[in-house]
């Protein structure tokens, strides 16, 4: 299988304003958007060619995007599917994920959130099975099996939860990671808590890494989340 230079991303969405916003986000992450506005058209397109990512709405004319996932997979597509829907309660999300969606974004969404999630999916799509035991970012070394972190030769003591957090950051190094993504992927919680509980956890991890490395490792991105950038590439 060859990955095209520009990843093709199918958008199945009947609301034109939303579809346009999604297309824009797709172009922002370097993809080529292909738009469909109904369930049947979307399903036909998804079966026809191999997309990198498919964005599927749920309450489409003709059907529910979640029901299309199994059919798309049965047709041999290796596309990652993100459901983007107004059915955005925790239970809807869990239902979608259980039915095979790779990600689930509730409407209304912030364009930054969609971009962050698209990048994470594209990264996952292109990731060559990374079973390296040691992942290094400059002098920052993460040992996956031993679940330890070192800066140079200094061991950084972090809790198991902080390690999980760091691993998720490392997998998305250099990209914006949103609070909602962290809550879903690190804590497996799909609702929006009233308080930004995640901030305190990221803050603790950030302070530990910063103290050890003597430079900022995790940066706060405007508004929505964080960027893990241990070697300062994004600056």
């Amino acid at each position: 299988m060859t990955t095209p230079e520009t990843p093709q991303i199918l958008i199945v969405e009947d609301d034109q304003v939303a579809a346009e916003a999604m297309a824009e986000a797709v172009r922002d992450v370097g993809g080529q958007p292909i738009l469909r506005a109904s369930y049947d058209d979307g399903l036909e397109a998804a079966r026809g060619s191999d997309f990198a990512v498919i964005l599927f709405d749920r309450m489409l004319p003709g059907g529910d995007g979640v029901d299309a996932i199994a059919k798309v997979r049965a047709a041999g597509s290796t596309a990652l599917v993100m459901v983007v829907s107004a059915l955005g309660r925790a239970q809807n999300k869990i239902e979608g994920l259980e039915k095979g969606a790779d990600d689930y974004l509730a409407k209304p969404f912030d364009p930054d959130e969609l971009r962050a999630r698209l990048r994470a999916l594209l990264r996952r799509k292109n990731m060559v099975a990374l079973d390296n035991d040691v992942v290094a970012f400059g002098d920052l070394e993460i040992r996956m099996k031993a679940r330890t972190v070192h800066v140079g030769t200094t061991h950084v003591a972090i809790s198991p939860k902080e390690f999980k957090l760091l691993r998720y950051f490392a997998n998305n190094a250099g990209d914006l990671v949103t609070r909602m993504q962290l809550l879903e992927n690190v804590w497996n919680l799909h609702f929006d808590p009233q308080t930004n509980v995640v901030d305190v956890h990221v803050g603790r991890l950030r302070r530990k890494l910063e103290t050890a490395a003597g430079r900022p490792i995790i940066h706060t991105a405007r508004g929505e989340g964080y960027v893990f950038d241990p070697v300062g590439e994004a600056e």
């Binding site: 939303a18 955005g88 209304p108 364009p111 508004g223």
Partner: protein
């Protein structure tokens, strides 16, 4: 269920015992009639005897009477009748050796008037005792053995018939109530199944068209209607979610086109997010209420692990604001539940605790086994809930006047209550000297289920 069974059986037994009583009454009347006619025949025999003796006495007085008595004694046995003629204390004729003790003599005539019933040597007799002129005691009596044994037979027969009737009535009552209750029981089971959440449950169509079939049809029609309404409600809430989120989504996208007003844009985004949170909470509450007590959708959840995770998520936040956090969690307590809902419940309780507590306050999470159920409890030493709000604290949009300037919509506890109900859990509000404590007591997961 038990009570209903006894009620129907009672009805059947009442009808049956009515029939039994009437039959026994009829047999009682029959018995009286028979008894009267047998007694009349007995009296008739006695009168015939007396008439014969009277005729002889008319002719030759005591001499003839003595011969007649001797003749009678010779031709019959003492078991049929007793005869005795005496001259003061001396026996002249008869089949008794002496006057029976305690038998009083009255009058001197030969009519059956004043006939008395008496026992002699264990046999019952009907007869007369006279003092004939000149001091001759005279006794004529007929044994009642035949009459009495006929009546005894009759009584025995009535007894057996009554026993038989009771047995048949009991059997019939049992059979009828089984047949009736079987059909009512099926309807009851259907109602239970529906109450348990399976709105599409129906009974197979009945074999014959009777009142039960009509009742069943009515119940089915009612259920069809409820099911339809329920479906419509679900569609409506989905539609609301969709129809409101779509315009909000557009607002959100238009916002990102704005430049140079980051602070305001951020504020509007915050408002959109909190609006979405309100109707998410409302939809969560109604869907949890709709699914109340239903088994489908519930899976085994490790309550202890879940509580630990959510506690770990909130603990740093509380600590950073200077609160003392503690958790006492008995490991590996499993309940049947929805992980996400239970996490949301605890998250709401901790959110509240952190929101209302200040530096120095303590927040404690407890997961333990209590009275055969699993208890999940959050206690804090914050300001507590104002007394006047206690009654309505679980209602939607209830907020204390003093909290108007705090973030929130008064949906947290309403959602907690709905989630608890969804899991068949009881909400408990332990008394605290200071602050607020709330717990939910979940049914244990039966390990064999």
């Amino acid at each position: 269920m038990r009570r209903a069974r006894s009620a129907s059986l009672r009805m059947t037994l009442m009808v049956a015992s009515g029939i039994i009583l009437m039959s026994l009454g009829a047999m009682g009347v029959q018995y009286r009639v028979t008894e009267a006619s047998l007694n009349a025949r007995q009296a008739e025999l006695l009168r015939a005897d007396l008439e014969a003796f009277a005729a002889l006495y008319e002719q030759r007085r005591i001499v003839a009477l003595r011969q007649a008595v001797e003749f009678r004694v010779a031709s019959s046995s003492a078991a049929q009748g007793i005869y005795l003629l005496m001259d003061r204390d001396v026996k002249l004729a008869g089949n008794l050796d002496g006057w029976p003790d305690g038998l009083t003599r009255e009058g001197a005539d030969f009519t059956p008037k004043g006939a008395q019933i008496f026992d002699h040597n264990g046999v019952s007799y009907l007869g007369i005792a006279r003092d004939l002129p000149g001091g001759f005691p005279f006794l004529v009596a007929r044994a009642r053995t035949d009459t009495l044994s006929t009546l005894a037979d009759l009584r025995r027969l009535i007894g057996w018939v009554a026993l038989g009737l009771v047995a048949v009535a009991l059997l019939a009552g049992w059979g009828i109530s089984r047949a009736v209750l079987g059909r009512i029981g099926r309807l009851n089971a259907l109602a239970d199944q529906v109450a348990g959440g399976d709105l599409s449950a129906r009974l197979p169509s009945p074999r014959q068209q009777d009142e039960f079939a009509v009742l069943q049809d009515h119940v089915h029609n009612m259920l069809d209607r409820i099911e339809g309404l329920n479906r419509a409600t679900h569609r409506l809430s989905d539609a609301i979610a969709h129809e409101l989120r779509t315009p909000l989504n557009r607002i959100q996208h238009r916002l990102s086109a704005l430049e140079g007003q980051d602070a305001q844009v951020e504020e509007i985004r915050g408002e959109i997010r909190s609006t979405v949170r309100i109707f998410d909470a409302l939809l969560d509450i109604s869907s949890a209420e709709a699914a109340k007590g239903q088994r489908p959708g519930l899976v085994p959840v490790n309550l202890s692990e879940l509580a630990e995770e959510v506690f770990d998520l909130y603990e740093p936040l509380a600590e950073e604001t200077g609160m003392l956090c503690s958790a006492e969690i008995t490991p590996d307590l499993h309940v049947l539940g929805e992980r996400s809902l239970l996490a949301q419940l605890l998250s709401n309780l901790l959110d509240n605790a952190i929101k209302y507590c200040g530096p120095g306050d303590a927040i404690a999470v407890l997961v333990t086994e209590q009275d055969g159920r699993f208890l999940l409890q959050v206690t804090d030493t914050g300001p507590g809930i104002p007394e006047e709000l206690r009654a309505e604290m679980f209602d939607r949009f209830t907020r204390a006047e003093r909290d108007r300037d705090r973030a929130g919509h008064g949906l947290g506890l309403a959602l907690v209550q709905a989630i608890a109900a969804r899991h068949g859990a009881k909400l408990i509000l332990p008394e605290t000297s200071k602050g607020f404590a709330i717990g939910i007591s979940c049914p244990k997961l039966d390990p064999s289920a």
